[in-house]
Amino acid sequence: MATNEEKLRCRALHVVFKYSKCENFDASIPYLAMTYFDRFISGRDDISISTATGSVLEHDVELLALCCLTLAWKRRSESFNTDEFWHNQPDLQYFTKDQVQKMETQILKALGQRLDARTALSFVPDIATKFYLTSGISRRTINEIIISSHDSTLVRKQRPSIIAASAFLAASKYLYPDKYQIFYSQMMLDGMFKRSHEKRFLEYMIKLCSDLKLIIESNDVPKRRVRAGEEAEGGAGETSEHGAAETSEHGAAETSEKETGETSEQGTIAGFNFPLRWRICEPFGEKFVAFRPLSESAELDWLAFEASRQPDLRALYQLKRYQVDRVEAPVPETRDQPQIAHVQGPRNGCCNTL
């Protein structure tokens, strides 16, 4: 049975996933937003957002997620334009400036004004030093693994250092399989991965790389790259400078820089210029509609539909309450069109039904 926190978090992930999309996308922004969200809801049975909007309002959790996102943007990007963000998306007109102001202030207060608290990403440089036996693992790869794992509620139970260490170990499992055990032992000596939930999280991270078929790349020049989770084709497993198809004994096919065509780690978002891969959100993406007044049944249908598309979500919703045929029903075209909620006025308690 999913906790209220988990239900709220799932909703926030959808909102952040959808509204963080922009030109020159920086994957660290949605990640940072979710760390603010997690810190905000940590230990709360429910989100008392009534003070933010003046009255109990539906979509409070969405407003909370959006404000976490704008705070992350303001902290991280000098080019972020709040006016443009709120005005360019019709469905965001649901909220007033005053509500946004109050919510951002409330978040800052709840976080103790600390927007620079340490996260898993800030532990990356410390842990990178332990991989001196190799030419290292690209910072971009580690960032992508850490950020991709953030849609799982498992990350909320782990220390940031464990998340960072797990990302390194998971990457080394594919890139340096023969040295994986040495690295793992080193981490153990440092007091990491001694608890069972930490070991389970490491296994989750290794599988995540495989499920998402992430490209794991080294730091050397030219970069050596392997794609996690892809079965290797026949032939020897040596890396070619020109990037011909290679094989690996560990279920990872090596690729070349030319094949993947990825950009170099240049510019202001160096290391974060990759697409966001939150599996919970991918089936909906930008079609996810957050802001409109829904009747209770329609909303439940919508949630059930979400759950039907994502097995991981089944635990979050009480599917037994819904008919199977309704769960499987296709999404009507109108769902893709955001409606302006304030036309019909807000309805209380919407977010509690999540």
């Binding site: 704008t70 303001k74 902290r75 991280r76 990007s77 000098e78 006016d83 951002e104 927007l115 620079d116």
Partner: protein
Amino acid sequence: MDEKPQRFEKLDREGIGTSSMSRQPMYKYLDTETGKRTAIRRLLLKPELQDSFSQSAGLPSLNAAQEEEEDYYGVPCMTIREVSLLKVMNHKNVARLLHVEPDNEERFLRLYLEYAGVDLTTFFKENPIWASDPKVTKDLLKQLLHGVAYYHSVDAVHGNLRPHNVLIDIDSSKVNVQYNLLITNLQLLPDTLQSNYKAPELLLGSKELSPAADMFSVGCLFFEMLKKKPLFETRHDQIDKLFRLMGAPNEDNWPGVTQLYGKKLSEYRQLKPKNLSKTLFLSDVEPAGVHLLSKMLCLNPNKRITAADALKHRYFADVDPKQQPKTTITATASSSASTSASVNP
């Protein structure tokens, strides 16, 4: 009904200056929980008050474009960045953020910043003998540079270095009198409405605060430590005076300057740099000190000495690095954090 005891008690009636935001006197407070003295800096929570604040403060902003926005949503970027930065800063020469609270109407955030001793100008007036000791000057400059270097090491800039934001605490209880310097960032109204410590690129129209601009301010403060008077007495004709002293910028001493500020530069004659020692009457200062000063006042920001390099300058060669500085400087800085490093999401 019991009234909640106040954590901060006002310490004196005279105050430490006038607030550039409210034009009201500013006071020191005693933090009854920590026993430390503090002073309050206020930051805006409501963006619609930004314009009046910026004008009255006379301070450059990190993102001037956002100040001009008529329709700004949420808490201003400058507030978010500054508080986040101060929350994580931890250096003996930088005033610590002891407490943060909003006002009753949530229009401002009150930052309770560590406050110690007196500001640099008051220190000179009250302690003329100590202040004229070259060793004390060297100690103070070194502490100032340590504080500024710390700002720059976390990808932040102070942006408002001037005597009001440099605090010196004298500890005479020991055999060797110790001076402790702190950099702080209080919005105190200066004697003149505009700062006389601005770098040439800012005077020529750049809006970008940078570590190099901070170092120019440090150069101005260094001169003030040496001569007990400001390098530029008034803001009027400051840029003209600077060019008369350091020479006018051209493509030789500052490649690219014509493209950046050509229109503004055309108002000034081409002048050659003068001998700093003679022009500024620094004959009593050791040559290494004059050399360091010239590096700090360098017109080209790309060639201006950094805080870290200044600390390695031969001017400090006779200071034992292991020896604890006798002088402790506390500076109150109006910092503006850059976006990347200290965030480290």
